[in-house]
């Protein structure tokens, strides 16, 4: 078992990719079979992911040499504490595939089913591969796989509006990928290496040049677009709100986190604290932008009527929280950034679960009623109690009400900001939280406490295959809040190792 689990980080990526490639073949004669195939593949991927995480916590980080070539010469896959995010990705992937079975047939024709499942598996495979790799160029390759499949999934319904949104996403996303590629090329020119650990080592050996700094700037710009940070967020609302809801859940829950994982990898694995490149100027700047992001996202969300638009803008706001958390870092005292880092990392997990719940609930409501405007959805809560109950739990959770998941992360980030001496950031965070509370109260008020209008009175509860993922995720929101020590046990070593502290560090 131990011997076998060595292969898991690669096997889980390959499982998703090969599963995606085989989808059109296995469902050639029966298009509906593609669902069962995708479900099976994602379960297999989840299993390999469990093995890898189990090995991480019993034996230690896995360094896997592809083809047996030692790192700077070949490609290294490195499964460390940041890579535990793959567990979240694969688990959410399974749930979203289960949800898709009923939901997606309502949006696309049966002809396109294998294409849809193939693209979802490619997206998951790209994200998993991205999160576990230890090689810069490999990072780019998987970034391309996941971005391309993301653009296609937004446009899959074939309507004019989604095609426009997808095109906007494609153009901005392609430029951002190009920025990342330029950054990799510059770093390769300076260090002559593509392996992250090797680049980090060689950057510490030499004096930083203009090229090093420009490469850093390009990485941050490129990954900020993927993460939808403030001035670069314009593609997100359309793409996330107009895509089919299962795709929105994937994009908003997971794909924007890929940008954050990229920033984390570049800052803390390549440029490294204690290295010769001082990036606190950059992280300070990012922190201020994150503060603006929080306010802008929350402000626009407040004035939306379309529920999916509200959730999409709220994603922008939450990305602000995460980036604020991870940008609280100082070179002289790395332990000062610890609380903020823990908060930022745990919010990656919590926000993924919460936002997926919200989008899946919105999808179930749209599937049943056909309405997406809040003013049309008055009183839907009495007709679809389970879906709307889950929506309420998730809404409370994202607003940060104590027994739910969202509270822990905001608590840690605020504590981190105060300990760091950035009271303005803490203030912005609290104001943003108030805004969030405001617009989620608006939703809950509309769906539960208003009198239903005519078409709404005739709907009933969503089908079981959609309810199961929703209920599991809503329970997840509660569990992550009530038993917060479970995710914290996973996150704390990750935060500590990233700041260069021992994994057992406690403040």
């Amino acid at each position: 078992m131990v011997e076998f689990s060595r292969h898991c980080p690669v096997l889980m990526t390959v499982t998703f990719l090969i599963g995606a490639v085989l989808t059109p073949i296995v469902s050639r004669s029966r298009k509906k079979f593609s669902f069962w195939w995708a479900f099976f593949v994602s379960l297999l991927g989840l299993f390999f992911c469990f093995c890898a995480v189990w090995r991480l916590y019993t034996v230690g980080p896995i360094s896997y040499w592809l083809g047996g070539w030692e790192p700077p010469y070949g490609i290294e896959v490195y499964f460390d504490y940041i890579s535990t995010i793959t567990l979240l990705m694969t688990a959410l992937g399974v749930l979203i595939i289960v949800y898709s079975n009923k939901y997606i047939r309502h949006d696309i024709s049966e002809e396109k089913l294998p294409t849809y499942y193939s693209l979802v598996l490619l997206l998951l495979g790209g994200m998993v591969g991205f999160s576990v790799t230890g090689d810069m160029f490999n990072l780019y390759v998987f970034l391309e796989i996941l971005s391309l499949s993301g653009y296609a999934l937004v446009a899959i319904t074939g309507e004019k509006l989604t095609a426009m949104a997808s095109f906007k996403y494609l153009v901005i996303g392609a430029v951002s990928s190009l920025c990342v590629l330029f950054g990799i090329a510059f770093l390769y020119n300076v260090t002559g290496s593509l392996n992250m650990a090797d680049i980090a080592f060689r950057l510490q050996q030499t004096q930083p040049t203009t090229t090093t700094y420009v490469a850093l700037a390009l990485f941050i710009i490129g990954f900020s677009v993927k993460a939808a940070m403030f001035p670069l967020h314009i593609w997100l609302p359309d793409a996330h709100a107009l895509a089919p809801s299962s795709v929105s859940a994937l994009l908003s829950g997971l794909v924007i986190k890929v940008g954050i994982v990229g920033i984390l990898r570049v800052l803390y694995c390549v440029y490294k604290l204690g290295g010769s490149v001082d990036f606190t100027v950059v992280t300070n700047f990012m922190g201020w932008l994150a503060a603006i992001t929080i306010l802008v996202g929350a402000f626009f969300a407040f004035f939306q009527d379309d529920i999916k638009m509200i959730f999409a803008y709220s994603s922008i706001s939450n990305i602000g929280y995460i980036i604020m958390g991870i940008s609280l870092v100082s070179f002289s005292q790395p332990e000062r950034g610890y609380l903020g880092m823990v908060g930022g990392l745990i919010h990656i997990f919590n926000h993924a679960i919460i936002k997926s719940t919200l989008f899946l609930c919105a999808g179930a409501i749209i599937y049943k009623t056909g309405f997406r405007k809040l003013s049309d959805l008055r009183g839907v809560g009495k007709k679809m109690p389970i879906t709307c109950g889950a929506l309420t739990i998730a809404a409370l959770s994202i607003a940060g009400i104590p027994p739910t998941a969202g509270f822990i992360c905001k608590w840690y980030i605020v504590l981190g900001a105060i300990e760091f001496g950035r009271l303005i950031w803490a203030g912005v965070l609290l104001v943003g939280a108030l805004f969030v509370f405001g617009y989620y109260i608006k939703i809950v008020n509309a769906i539960f406490f208003r009198e239903p209008v005519e078409p709404i009175t005739q709907v009933d509860e969503a089908p079981l295959s959609m309810l199961i993922p929703i209920v599991i995720l809503a329970t997840g929101c509660l569990i992550m809040g009530v038993f917060a020590y479970i995710p914290l046990n996973v996150i704390k070593p990750a935060a500590a190792t990233m700041l260069g502290l021992p994994p057992t560090y406690l403040p």
Binding site: H7, V10, L11, V14, L17, I18, A20, V21, L22, P24, I25, R28, Y64, L66, G67, G68, W69, P72, Y73, G74, I75, V77, E111, K112, T115, Y116, S118, L119, L122, G125, D135, F137, N138, V141, F142, E144, I145, L148, S149, Y151, A152, L153, A155, I156, A163, F182, F186, Y188, N189, V190, T191, G192, S193, L194, R202, T210, T211, V214, A215, A217
Partner: protein, 244 residues
């Protein structure tokens, strides 16, 4: 205002990139880190370790094979993206029997295309199989293979080509690239080595080189056939939209 801002941002990016290129380590200088760190190992031992006389092939299929597997998957993703937007070619939508161009084609063009296609395919196969020894390989051969299919489609019509190359088989060919890598990778794992290992200790020493060569050729064929089929499929899918 918006336009001015965009131009300003582009100018800023331009200045940034140019200023970086100016201070890059000079091209061709022996102190350049790109020449001193990893590349010497590739140049010195690449032929014997990589298993291919063409060092490029050795690097992209052996040292960095996982990247190539990713790139092949990117090509497959591109096909899936096109199919998600445009859908497969569908004859039921056509009123006429799918002629690409309305211009009458002379018998000379048709005959020449028919006559040349086997030779183009042969050339593509030569490039694919000879990739380990000389410039070329799966990607280049696949592009030529795809081009040959496009040429006969343009001259003889979509109906003719899709009958010869029916969807049933094309679906299999499209996934050949990643599948080739997967098979090779699993052979490595079953032999107790890492994914994508070509030199297998479970094979008798005398045959190791032969086995490695065979595995490399399987991958090359996969990339070539897969690439060609994907180019053809994307081309066929685009045809439908023009007719609509």
């Amino acid at each position: 205002m918006k336009k001015g801002l965009a131009i300003f941002a582009l100018l800023l990016l331009w200045v940034l990139l140019i200023s970086t290129v100016v201070v890059l380590p000079p091209m061709g200088s022996p102190e350049n880190p790109t020449y001193t760190h990893i590349v010497p190992r590739y140049l010195e031992k690449g032929v014997e370790e990589g298993g291919a006389h063409n060092i490029i092939t050795g690097i992209i299929l052996n040292y960095r094979g996982y990247d190539t597997m990713g790139e092949v998957t990117v090509i497959f993703t591109a096909l899936m993206a096109v199919l998600a937007v445009l859908g497969r070619e569908n004859f039921l939508l056509h009123t006429s029997k799918a002629e690409m161009s309305t211009v009458e084609k002379s018998i000379i063009v048709k005959s020449v295309a028919r006559f040349l296609t086997p030779f183009i395919v042969l050339f593509a196969l030569y490039i694919i199989f000879h990739g380990a020894e000389s410039p070329g390989g799966g990607f280049q051969g696949g592009a030529i293979l795809g081009a040959s299919i496009i040429i006969i489609t343009l001259t003889l019509g979509l109906a003719f080509v899709t009958k010869k190359l029916s969807l049933k088989y094309r679906v299999l060919f499209e996934s050949a690239g990643p599948l080739g890598f997967f098979i090779i990778g699993m052979v490595g794992i079953l032999c107790g080595q890492n994914f994508l290992t070509y030199l297998l200790p479970c094979v008798a020493l005398a045959y190791q080189d032969l086995v490695r060569h065979l595995l490399l050729i399987i991958v090359e064929i996969g990339i070539g056939v897969g690439g060609g089929a994907i180019i053809a499929s994307i081309f066929f899918a685009m045809e439908k939209v023009e007719k609509e």
